[in-house]
């Protein structure tokens, strides 16, 4: 009698009736929160902090009538359409400018936060095999996805409240602030849903996030092009989930209903994700992995070609992206460099003279592209460190490959890739400028201007190489140099930064072509510095232990 009762009591909790496909989801939610206890707050607070920061910047840029003129022009036409449909342009206030133009940064950040979060707790877990451990427990088929989406939804709701709070704290209408928060959060939800879908399709988390990222990129392009076609957007704009958040007209005549579209898309994408996840095995994707060549191409047989093969995809993507960026910003030169009603700040940033406004603007764009090329260079050296620390350098260096030729091969490929990138991006920017200004000579001038930055970026490469060779764990320090260069390059003149401080930026010394002439002395000195730093890095790498796994 007692025995029977006892047995039934022990059996009851195991009964699958409660929960079913969702069994264990509650525990998993707590598990995800525990694992993301640093990451998630960092994202949420980071985005909120950015709003405070942008508010500060925007408030200072919307003080005088002259500045407002400038902002108004910025919000018009092609450039304005890159950021949004331009609501609130007719009567600009700080909060209108902040939410309707800078809003796009928050949309993208919320999307990235959600994409990475969903992929991290679904496909990454499956790929690593950890989810087998989880799924072999009393955990329902849909529990992991549900728990992940629940956390993603919660994170976006918290984000909406934080952003609304930040706007209210700055003295703006709280109701409209909440609408902006919701506009940001629904973008996050849409991309959480889309990632829940893409992680079903492929076996690899990186492919899954890239797919979702491609959707995000496409959504931005569709919205930008749609907004270029008509004032305050065209029917094309409405095909992009980013447009729905823009169309809430925050702080203008705010309306909530476009967000229903976002919520609907998020739900539909997630539902499709659930349906697809039921059709596949744990660990598998809907699309089988592609196979490749069973034998290596004949040219793949030296440290140099191996480095090229492994860096190739990154080089191509960076070049394509920066060329596209350069072309777009080159093509709007005539709008930006329109000398009517230009503010003092902007004039100073673009060289200080109305006569050379176009050259000044193109100089800033060139510097911008050069700094981003620097990002590619640093990422390249970091990938060398990843090769080593993940144990892939070891089998190579156990062959008849010297450390100098292995690391030197990477440095050569990255340096050559840099030259190729600046050549192509410079040509694209120059082409855009030539079309915009109707002056073919810009093609050559702007291409040459880009190439003039090669020595400065090579110094960055040298710094990264030295760190890798001597103290690889500190390789991140070079990001500070890059960030500093970007700041000093773009705002150095406006903020009256002393020349000594600006000289710390390697790119400063060649001048700002095409506006300035190029200093050949500086070019030679920078090249020598770059070579010396790289040589020191190579020498250091030859002397240190290889890091094992």
């Amino acid at each position: 009698m007692t025995a029977t009762t006892a047995r039934e009591q022990t059996r009851a909790p195991a009964a699958p009736a409660q929960g079913g496909a969702l069994a264990g989801a509650g525990t998993l939610v707590r598990f995800i929160l525990r694992r993301d206890r640093i990451k998630l707050p960092a994202w949420l607070l980071g985005i909120t902090f950015l709003l405070f920061y942008f508010h500060n910047v925007v408030a200072q840029a919307t003080e005088t009538e002259e500045q407002l003129q400038d902002v108004r022009r910025f919000m018009e036409g092609t450039i304005g359409a890159l950021f949004g449909p331009g609501y609130g342009r007719d009567d600009i206030t700080t909060e209108r400018y902040l939410t309707n133009v800078y809003g796009v940064f928050f949309f993208v950040l919320a999307a990235l936060m959600s994409m990475l979060l969903v992929s991290r707790h679904t496909r990454v877990e499956e790929q690593s095999g950890r989810s087998e451990l989880i799924r072999s427990n009393v955990v329902g088929r849909h529990a992991q996805l549900t728990a992940t989406l629940a956390v993603a939804a919660g994170a976006n709701i918290v984000l909406a409240l934080l952003l609304a709070g930040a706007l209210a704290a700055n003295g703006h209408d709280a109701g409209q602030g909440l609408l902006f928060g919701a506009a940001v959060a629904t973008v996050g939800l849409v991309f959480a849903g889309i990632t829940a879908l893409t992680v079903q399709v492929t076996e690899y988390s990186r492919t899954a996030t890239s797919l979702a990222g491609a959707v995000l990129g496409t959504a931005w392009v569709v919205r930008a092009v749609g907004d270029m076609l008509g004032d305050h957007g065209s029917p094309l704009s409405w095909f992009s989930p980013l447009a729905w958040s823009n169309q809430t007209r925050v702080y203008v005549d705010g309306r909530w209903w476009p967000l229903l579209l976002s919520a609907g898309l998020a739900a539909a994408a997630a539902a499709l994700g659930y349906a697809l996840s039921g059709r596949r095995d744990v660990g598998a994707g809907l699309v089988a992995a592609r196979t490749g060549a069973p034998e290596a191409a004949p040219w793949l047989g030296s440290p140099l070609t191996a480095a090229f093969r492994l860096q190739r995809a990154a080089l191509i993507w960076w070049t394509a992206a920066l060329a596209a960026f350069g072309f777009v910003f080159g093509a709007v030169t005539d709008q930006i460099a329109d000398p009517d009603d230009i503010s003092g700040d902007r004039l100073e940033m673009f060289g200080g003279s109305l006569d050379t406004l176009a050259d000044g603007y193109l100089g800033v764009i060139t510097l911008f592209i050069a700094v981003f090329a620097g990002v590619m260079v640093v990422l390249g050296v970091q990938s060398v460190w990843a090769e080593e620390s993940k144990g892939r350098a070891e089998p190579i260096l156990a062959t008849a490959t010297s450390r100098t030729s292995w690391f030197g091969g990477y440095l050569a490929v990255i340096a050559a890739g840099l030259v190729g990138l600046l050549l192509v991006a410079g040509f694209a920017t120059g082409l855009g400028a030539a079309v915009s200004l109707g002056d073919g000579s810009y093609i050559l001038d702007v291409t040459a201007a880009h190439l003039a930055h090669v020595p400065g970026v090579l110094v960055m490469l040298g710094i990264a190489a030295l760190l890798f060779g001597v103290f690889p764990r500190a390789i991140g320090v070079v990001w500070a140099v890059l960030g500093y260069s970007l700041f000093a390059g773009l705002f150095g003149t406006i903020t009256d930064m002393p020349q000594a401080a600006r000289n710390l930026m390697p790119m400063e010394h060649v001048g700002q072509p095409p506006l300035d002439g190029v200093s050949w002395t500086a070019t030679v000195v920078l090249l020598l510095v770059a070579v010396a730093l790289s040589a020191a890095g190579l020498a250091g790498f030859r002397r240190r232990d290889l890091k094992g796994r």
């Binding site: 196979t291 490749g292 060549a293 034998e295 030296s302 191996a306 144990g391 070891e394 062959t399 008849a400």
Partner: protein, 314 residues
């Protein structure tokens, strides 16, 4: 004939850890040398020093007559290496990785490559990130064995391989041995080393604690004897070198130290031996002697027991 590998007093420290603590290892040319030890004993560190990937803090190392640190590249043309935990490039196929590694060493034998891929049942057209651990291991094995290297450093090469592939691997190593190549085979799969190795060195806490042929090593350990006799055996109790005696009726079982084997068998022969089985000491027992000292002392009967999973790792 010089030694393929000779180290003396090799020291390597990482922070406060002494990974190698005066290591003396000698591997003669043409032999398969088993390199046994628990995880963390310093096997991989030693192999990395021999490859010039790590620089020893003190002591001397000589590989194929050269200094592994300063002449790494020249020496590597004559060496091949299989790491214990193989990482492949996610976007290169297994075949591409094999070719790349082979060419960087200075060429590989196409026929041998094809044969090994066939024997190890490897699909060379899959991308690196899609391989299981065992398949990644196969890629590294094929890349190393398809070369004509004189000296092979194999660091736990078959971890992750299934038993069938383990057999293939043993065949291939035997073939290498027949060709006169030198192999340093680190492992804690004892049976594998036992089958393949001419000589064995046991490493513990960065030191070689024992080195020699298996015959020499066995001399140092106990042989287990099981016998049926016509009459109950007496006179073995307390005999020198005899341990763990169990006698029930006509059956007797005991372990005896190598140098007292002769005496024990003489005693036994006086009681009409009907059947006699002797178990040579296994490497498990050798390991237990070095890593399970307390276990053997406390157990008093563990001689024939398989090594408990954790026993060799302590």
């Amino acid at each position: 004939m010089t030694a393929a590998i000779a180290t003396s007093e090799l020291v390597k420290t990482f922070g406060s850890t002494r990974a190698l603590d005066g290591l003396d290892l000698t591997v003669e040319t043409g032999e398969v040398h088993g390199f046994l030890g628990p995880n963390g004993a310093g096997k991989s560190t030693c192999i990395r020093v021999l490859l010039g990937l790590l620089r020893a803090d003190a002591g001397r190392a000589e590989v194929l007559g050269g200094d592994p640190w300063s002449s790494a590249v020249e020496l590597h043309r004559r060496m091949a290496y299989v790491p214990g935990d193989v990482e492949l490039w996610p976007n290169l196929t297994g075949g591409e990785a094999i070719d790349l590694l082979g060419r960087l060493r200075g060429g590989l034998d196409r026929g041998r490559r094809a044969e090994l891929i066939e024997r190890f049942d490897l699909d060379p057209s899959k991308k690196g990130r899609t391989y299981s651990k065992g398949n990644r291991q196969k890629v590294a094995i094929v890349a190393a064995l398809a070369s004509d290297a004189e000296l092979l450093l194999l660091d736990e090469p078959t971890s992750g391989l299934d038993p069938l592939m383990e057999v293939v691997f043993q065949d291939v190593v035997k073939q290498l041995k027949a060709e006169g190549r030198t192999v340093l085979l680190s492992s804690h799969i004892l049976a594998q080393v036992e089958h393949l190795a001419d000589k064995v060195s046991i490493i513990r806490q960065g030191k070689i604690v024992q080195s020699g042929t298996l015959a020499e090593m066995r001399h140092l350990t106990r042989t287990t004897i099981e016998a049926r006799t016509g009459r109950p055996v007496t006179g073995l109790e307390g005999a020198p070198g005899v341990h763990d005696l169990e006698a029930t009726g006509d059956r007797v079982r005991f372990a005896v130290d190598g140098d007292h084997l002769d005496a024990a068998v003489r005693v036994l022969s006086r009681f009409e031996i009907r059947s006699l089985v002797s178990h040579p000491p296994t490497l498990e027992e050798l390991m237990l002697r070095h890593y399970g000292d307390e276990l053997a002392a406390a157990g008093n009967g563990t001689g024939r027991e398989p090594v408990p999973a954790g026993g060799e790792e302590r």
